[in-house]
Amino acid sequence: MQDILKQYETVTQADVKEWFFVGNVSDFPENSGACIKYKTKQIAVYNFTRTSQWYACQNLCPHKMEMVLSLGMIGDKDGIPKVACPMHKKNFSLKDGSNLGGEDLKIATYPVKIENGNVYIGFSD
């Protein structure tokens, strides 16, 4: 299971080697999340319609190793965009992947680009 976790590492804009097309804006539910597949990775993509912001992170919750984060509810804590894992409500920042409850859990985040109504996620591999 550790191996599954290892393949997720935060990618910043500068690291991007490939902008991977994952669908049209309309394929993604408003103010909510959905999951996409890239090679062996599962990535959660969130469409914050209220602020026209998009975020992406690993779909795997590091707490109990479940592929569920895309199903979590999104929102904010003190203005930081976040997702709450549907399993045990662990909260993660979508800005930097840190756990907002102060626990030692972290998720990898990925950049999202919207161009002509198409959604792209940035990967470095």
Binding site: D27, A34, E66, M73, G75, D76, P86, M87, D104, K106
Partner: protein
């Protein structure tokens, strides 16, 4: 950069790392940690939980990545075999060598195995590591397959750890026996009477206790078959767990000639330094004050001292008097002792309260002048422990008549001790994280903490064992009040209203959706608390299904199914009143077979189908709906089931047709959303086979009609429903139920069930009767009309979803692929399947 090597990655060794990296100076050091076990440090105090879930990861103090992220090199599965003091090196079992500037020994202890004849036989275990438990489990499985009878297991030692181990073997399905040499259980912490109370309680739970027994011999050929105490005194057991104390793991120190105690343990000074000033030692391996401390809290204090000494804060020293107070839950029984639990007469006097019918024992030891509390014991109910412990530690004044401490004040004014605010600022409230009252209060008065959550993330109080939580809550609330800040019950940071206020605002302003509510009454982007709370409010005003505002539903409601371990879902069709035809059973069976689902009968008299993947849900429901089934709303905070007994239709005792009435009620309220789940029951006579009094509402048939009970529940805090009205006819019963449910839905907080709602309702059950039966608020008609409106608008949300292609879009794992989740793994279990355990 200086090198520190830590030998031992147990709880105390981990705590050293945690406290070390929290210091800014830590960046000048390189930390390398060796552990001989395969896993990173885990919580041994809660080891017995492993039997419940076999989830080693859940016990971890921190995952492996934590060490990486903090630049700590963690080398597990590798024992250090020698210390070379002259060259300042250690060597490992693989004969690798590492240089150190400072060495910290946190090697802990090993179980003490007494030298009894036959102790080497098979079936004998110690209780210390996860590997020990795994070996026990494996052996237990073998025993169970070869023995048809209940298998017996003994635990040698009736101390703290021994009783934990007894619980563990009981959970493994053995008949447990505790064998103790002393004439009482927990001889070091409890007096004879307290011990007796504990013994009676645990015996009533099925644990056999054998006291004053010295084991001469282990019986059996190769494998243990029994234990012999005297010539004619023996017991037959098939397994033995030894928990007879600990011995420090001091062999490394011994071979490199550090100063040792005569009976073992590495001698340290109050800086945690051994006789070699560059070698420190902490935890159970240490002899300090001529004592080995087998508790985790003193070990954590030692870690704190060692960290400070190494980084150069040389004035941080270990205190002389070590507080050995403990509070724990042993096999579900509260046990606590603090200060001086036994009282020598020359120091003071004791006041003892004992109630055998309730398995309660309280003892306080008071100084001769009656002014200070010196120690005490609590068994059965340790809720006063935090306060007593603080009074003892800080020498707080006690009532003139000390007995009021345990018996309560008989005069005016209730509480016998003042407010939590009377505790001095230096008092340590959270001993796991060393947080004082001052730290907590200042984080609000001088820091920027605004609420309990802020205080916890700032100070880390309550994040250890959690035992101090009630006191921390009180301190935070009192401090906020003292600042004139209103401790207002609000939904979350996005809405400064409570649920009832929001319900009214949404209704009066005819708000149409969540976004509008957030714009009008809230701020920010919402969260997982306010979204489902508002979803519930919208549903109980307009009867909209979760298909309309999908984004604000909890995951269960979003997919109209219960999310289970490994991200699969379970399916529960409605079986009103538990009445089901053979054809319906066949349909459910056929569907379960087709989709390879695990099936189980639920507590609510229906059938749960587990293990469905997200894309299978619509296919499964299509078949169920075609056969006439509807959603059972098992996933929602909504009406679940109305359980029934078979009633006068078949039962020779039945007074009325309980099944018919249960079906009518369940169908009336099906789909109704509420602040929390709602359950009902209808029994055909007072034998109460439907357990209606364990439900939010229950009806019991009596001569002349139905008795109506309200506000009961099972679960974590079971509560019997209270008699609300007697001898009602069907129509009146439904009228009262309509009013009661609607009133609850309007006024309860989010996720508050009917019983705690009633507890908080001012005036209690009598007030509720006035509102519902006598219509004291003049709202009865309105409540009935509203409920009828909701009933009329019911629609099966699964039928609605599968008929609408737009709604169907969400039942798919990936947006950009038709693949399914390939991480799902199932393993067989008793001719069905189950999700593979978490690793």
């Amino acid at each position: 950069m200086k090198k520190i090597i830590v030998v031992g990655n147990g709880m105390v060794g981990y705590k050293f790392c945690e406290k070390f990296v929290a210091q800014a100076e830590s960046k000048n050091f390189k930390l390398t940690v060796f552990g001989e076990e395969p896993r990173p440090a885990y919580d041994r105090v809660h080891l017995s939980e492993y039997f419940g879930n076999q989830d080693a990861k859940a016990l971890e103090m921190a995952p492996r990545e934590w060490y990486e992220n903090h630049n700590i090199e963690l080398i597990t599965n590798e024992r250090i075999t020698a210390i070379h003091r002259s060259s300042k090196k250690v060597s490992t079992i693989k004969d690798e060598h590492y240089k150190y500037d400072y060495l910290l020994l946190a090697t802990g202890s090993a179980p003490f195995v007494p030298n009894i004849t036959g102790v080497e036989k098979k079936g004998i275990f110690v209780y210390r590591t996860i590997e020990d438990l795994e070996a026990m489990l494996e052996y237990a499985d073998k025993l169970k397959t070869t023995n048809s009878d209940k298998v017996r297991a003994a635990v040698l030692g009736g101390g703290l750890l021994g009783l934990e181990a007894a619980k563990a073997v009981m959970d493994m399905g053995f008949e447990p026996h505790v064998v103790e040499f002393a004439p009482k259980l927990m001889p070091r912490q409890l007096d004879t009477r307290a011990s007796k109370v504990l013994q009676e309680k645990i015996e009533s739970l099925g644990i056999n206790v054998h006291l004053s027994k010295a084991t001469n011999k282990i019986l059996g050929d190769e494998t243990i078959t029994g234990m012999e105490f005297g010539e004619y005194d023996k017991i037959d057991v098939e397994m033995l767990v030894i928990s007879a104390g600990i011995r420090p793991r001091d062999e490394l120190a011994k071979t490199c000639h550090l100063e040792m105690g005569t009976r073992g343990g590495i001698v340290v000074n109050d800086r945690m330094q051994t006789s070699d000033p560059e070698i420190y030692a902490i935890g159970e391996v240490v002899l300090y004050n001529q004592m080995i401390y087998g508790l985790v809290a003193p070990g954590y204090d030692m870690a704190h001292v060692a960290v400070n000494q190494i980084i150069g804060n040389s004035d941080v020293l270990m205190q002389r008097d070590i507080d050995m107070s403990t509070k724990l839950k042993l096999i579900g029984v509260d046990v606590a002792s603090y200060g001086e639990p036994f009282m020598p007469v020359e120091k003071g006097y004791s006041i003892i309260y004992e109630n055998k019918t309730k398995n309660l024992y309280k003892r306080i030891n008071v100084s001769h002048d009656g002014k200070s509390l010196l120690g005490g014991i609590l068994v059965g109910d340790a809720s006063e422990y935090n306060m007593f412990h603080q009074i003892y530690l800080n020498g707080l004044p006690i009532p003139e008549d000390a007995e009021e401490l345990i018996l309560g004040s008989r005069g005016e004014g209730g509480s016998s001790f003042g407010s939590v605010m009377d505790i001095p600022d230096v008092a340590q409230v959270c001993s796991c994280e060393s947080v004082t009252k001052g730290d907590i209060c200042c984080s609000i008065t001088e820091g920027d903490c605004q609420n309990l959550g802020d205080v916890i993330s700032k100070t880390k109080a309550t994040t250890g064992c959690g035992g101090c939580k009630p006191m921390v809550v009180d301190l935070v609330n009192e401090t906020l009040k003292s600042l004139g800040k209103e401790v207002k019950e609000t939904l979350c940071e996005h809405f400064s209203f409570n649920r009832q206020e929001l319900y009214d605002l949404v209704k009066i302003n005819k708000v149409s959706d969540y976004e509008e509510a957030l714009n009008l009454f809230g701020e920010g982007h919402g969260c997982e608390i306010c979204k489902p709370a508002l979803a519930s409010i919208f549903a109980t005003i307009t009867m909209e299904t979760p298909n309309r505002q999908v984004a604000i539903q909890d995951t269960n409601d979003k997919f109209l199914a219960n999310i289970q371990r490994n991200g699969t879902y379970s399916v529960v069709p409605r079986v009103a009143g538990g009445e089901i035809t053979p054809d319906q059973l066949i349909t459910i069976g056929a569907v379960a077979k087709k989709y390879d689902l695990y099936t189980k009968i639920t507590g609510g008299q229906r059938i749960d189908l587990f293990g469905a993947q997200i894309h299978e849900l619509p296919l499964i429901w299509k078949e169920l709906i075609d056969a006439g089934f509807e959603s059972g709303h098992a996933y929602g905070k909504s009406l679940r089931t109305v359980k029934s007994c078979v009633g006068s239709t078949w039962c020779r005792y039945g007074m009325h047709e309980s099944v018919t009435f249960a079906i009518e009620i369940e169908n009336r309220y099906k789909g109704l959303r509420s602040p929390h789940k709602l359950k009902g029951g209808v029994s055909g006579c007072i034998r109460e086979c439907a357990e209606a009094r364990g439900k939010d509402f229950g009806l019991i048939a009596v001569e002349g009609g139905w008795n109506l009970y309200v506000c009961g529940n099972g679960g974590a805090t079971p509560k019997h429903a209270i008699l609300f009205a007697e001898q009602l006819d069907d129509k009146t019963a439904i009228k009262y139920l309509d009013r009661f449910l609607m009133y609850y839905i309007r006024t309860a907080g989010p996720l508050v069930r009917t019983a705690p709602w009633l507890d908080k309702l001012e005036g209690g059950i009598e007030y509720l009767k006035q509102v519902i039966i006598e219509d004291s608020l003049g709202i009865a008609d309105e409540l009935e009309i509203e409920m009828q409106g909701l009933v009329n608008k019911y629609e099966c949300e699964w039928k609605q979803a599968i008929e609408n292609p737009e709604m169907m879009k969400r039942f798919k794992h990936f947006v950009n692929s038709d693949d399914t989740d390939d991480n799902l793994v199932f393993v067989p279990m008793r001719e069905q399947k189950m999700p593979k355990a978490w690793t």
